[in-house]
């Protein structure tokens, strides 16, 4: 989606009202806004660029993650934006703010986490910035090649709705920490070491993906963004949603903080595609619903509509 600043189609919520107001304020200067990554033409090549800001106390706490994990998670979150548009990462930059009392080892381990995530997807670390700050702050910028990007806006009535992975683990870990408990190793790994679905995004594009988004705001929240961008309704059959072993149903439906892909595929796509995907990538691809005419998100359970408020807000 490329909009000139007179509004970006996102789902409902005060956070998104703010983003809309900001883009409106950009007026004619804005370009290529509204997808997970900005898609821009430079030198005859289509690039996807995204920037992702994570701040201690807002997005993670120091007691939850070690520095390598903080760096990995921040970079994986930004890289996930490239996965969602089926781009191939090329380079990563990281701006880092650390308190003066933090050791040099903390900083090098944090950057090591960034570098590992970059290397995992075949990207290089191009540079960054280093400043002093009260709270650990990390902004990761990712640049990728996107010769054939997938947007949020291409879903059409009749398409099927699919999701990668098993959902709810990351938010289950956050809930445990917030309640003073240690999460299970499996839930913790979902938060601390998310996998950017780069190869998966390209594979889905090659199988005809019409629209794609990553689940940073949770299944219902991000389905709302995809529905708004495409001008359709996303119907989610709750019983089909793959739930992470550590999680309950509500966490899987509404929880965010993880980076799986939600994708609209042509209606005729056979469910056997899910098995092919799992053989290829070792994680499931599940047919969880469909695209219909209308607007918004409808969650259905046992044939009955379920009222789900659009995703948890960030803690």
């Amino acid at each position: 989606m490329t909009e000139g600043g007179d509004g970006v189609a996102l789902g409902p919520g005060p956070e998104f009202d703010r983003i809309r107001a900001v883009w409106r304020a950009l007026g004619g200067h804005g370009a290529a806004l509204g997808d997970d990554a900005a898609l821009v033409e430079v030198g005859g090549e289509r690039l996807a660029i995204s920037t992702d800001l994570a701040i201690e106390g807002q997005h993670f706490r120091l007691g939850w993650l070690d520095p390598v994990e903080i760096g990995w998670r921040a970079a994986a979150g930004a890289l996930s934006d490239l996965a969602a548009v089926a781009a191939q990462p090329v380079g990563v930059l990281a701006s880092v703010g650390v308190p003066g009392e933090r050791s040099e080892a903390f900083l090098t381990e944090l950057m090591d986490g960034v570098a590992r995530a970059a290397a995992y997807v075949g990207a290089k670390v191009w540079g960054g910035d280093l400043v002093r700050s009260e709270h650990v702050t990390i902004d990761v910028v990712v640049v990728g090649r996107a010769p054939a990007p997938v947007s949020r806006a291409g879903a059409r009535p009749g398409d099927g709705l699919w999701v990668t992975g098993r959902l709810g683990g990351a938010v289950t870990a956050v809930r445990a920490w917030s309640e003073g408990r240690e999460p299970s190793a499996e839930a913790r790994a979902r938060f601390a070491h998310p996998t950017p679905r780069i190869a998966e995004g390209a594979w889905l594009r090659d199988r005809g993906a019409r629209a794609m988004i990553d689940l940073s705001d949770g299944l219902v929240g991000d389905a709302g963004h995809l529905a708004a961008a495409s001008g359709v309704v996303c119907v989610i059959e709750a019983d089909r949603v793959p739930i992470h072993a550590s999680a309950d149903w509500e966490s899987a439906i509404a929880g965010g903080e993880e980076y799986e892909l939600l994708v609209a595929l042509p209606g005729e796509t056979p469910d056997s595609l899910g098995r092919e995907f799992e053989v290829e990538f070792g994680v499931p691809l599940t047919h969880i619903g469909r695209i219909e005419e209308g607007t918004g998100v409808r969650v259905v359970r046992n044939g009955q509509p379920v009222d789900v408020e659009g995703g948890f807000s960030h803690f």
Copy 2:
């Protein structure tokens, strides 16, 4: 300068020791580090990319600047990194963190400042990220075309050392605020509304600039980076340094927080180039010293060496 992670040539100082350690930790993943902007080859075109993080309380205070100025200054600082490598800005992304109690107007004005700085240099706002944070936080990413970049590393003995603008105003404003006084309008403008020297950087490149750097760390500090990258000594004749009307000599020599360019030009460059520059851009270009064999920075006043500790640290 393109180094593979085994060390980046910067001037002395604990802040720079940290940066060196981080780049060392990146090992083989690092690329194109050590200049103001990362220089990368994408799609047959050379791009310059930089990311610049500014945090309330570290880089500015809310009582000093209005939101438009915060946005302008953050974007101008990042754009200045492109000026220093003689790149032409194409696009800007901004990740912004704001406290929950800040109004929507604050956020839109801040982004308006970013958009104005981008428009000033002919770049578009491509997108960004918006999160909640305790302190106002803004990371600006800039992407430019750099078909013929200038690095920090090309200065050679016999070159002349030149600087754009008049120095010391920005740090004079910061000192006034820190002492509870209101700075003069002229000093304030130098901090609140710095001009990224984009056209100037390209002009200097076309006049044979061998090495260039912007003065975010101050004249002596950044001369140290240029000297280290080029493997030379920068000799600065203090009496020639153009001092901003609001500033004293020490602020001009050692103060940072402003975005003029320090440039090494061939030794045969006539001083009349400074007049041509001033006619073109309305600000002076001053011949302030020379490049000699050796290492580090030597400040000379009335023919005598002066001991200047490498620039003020950030407040």
